[in-house]
């Protein structure tokens, strides 16, 4: 079974530029999560999708961050414009559904550096 795929693995941009991350969850997983992991901290949930609907985006900075999962499969997270404090690893995870959300499978992450 293929795991959660993310790309790119690394990205360096200047502040005020835009960036997008892509995630392809495990086949058949209805729930998809985006986490932000700042160095020295645990992952923080940004947004959770159930199929193509948003379940929780309470911690997503909506003035600059956006995410979509149009066909209920893969997802894109965008930052526009980026700030220095957005430097972090962005983790994507998936689970079968919301009820089994504790069985989350994580991708390798995208390390973003904003200069």
């Amino acid at each position: 079974e293929a795991g959660v795929a993310q790309s790119p693995r690394y990205k360096i941009i200047e502040k005020r530029q835009s960036v997008a991350f892509w995630c392809n969850p495990i086949s058949g997983h209805a729930t998809l999560y985006w986490y932000q992991q700042i160095l020295g901290q645990g992952p923080k949930l940004l947004i959770q999708f159930q199929n193509n609907g948003v379940v929780d985006d309470s911690q997503l900075p909506k003035d600059r961050f956006s995410a979509e999962r149009l066909k209920g499969v893969d997802s894109t997270l965008k930052i526009q414009p980026a700030k220095l404090e957005d430097s972090a690893v962005y983790l994507c995870a998936s689970s079968l559904d919301v009820v089994s959300s504790y069985e989350q499978y994580f991708g390798p992450g995208t390390r973003l550096t904003v200069t």
Binding site: V4, G40, Q41, G42, P43, K44, L45, Q48, V55, D56, L91, A93, V98, V99, S101, Y102, E103, Q104, Y105, F106, G107, P108, G109
Partner: protein, 114 residues
Amino acid sequence: AQSVTQPDIHITVSEGASLELRCNYSYGATPYLFWYVQSPGQGLQLLLKYFSGDTLVQGIKGFEAEFKRSQSSFNLRKPSVHWSDAAEYFCAVGKSGGYQKVTFGTGTKLQVIP
């Protein structure tokens, strides 16, 4: 709101020695508790979880954890550490029932010396 505290930022143990990583949680009801491991450059992997029942939980890779309600703790243990266990370990808490959301601690980085 639920929260998790991992008081040890960094721990060093010798290979073959026993290990205990501390985790304290804050949650009003019976929590769901988890330990995840993150190797360098990798995503998180679930080691074990506690939902209910037996308070001593066995996980993968020889790890176990014990839920102690009176101490609001869920410490992770391993009797004999291997060099491959060097990684960062995250404790996490979720609420029981309803919408499932997991809150992670800040992590403990484990170094294993030969």
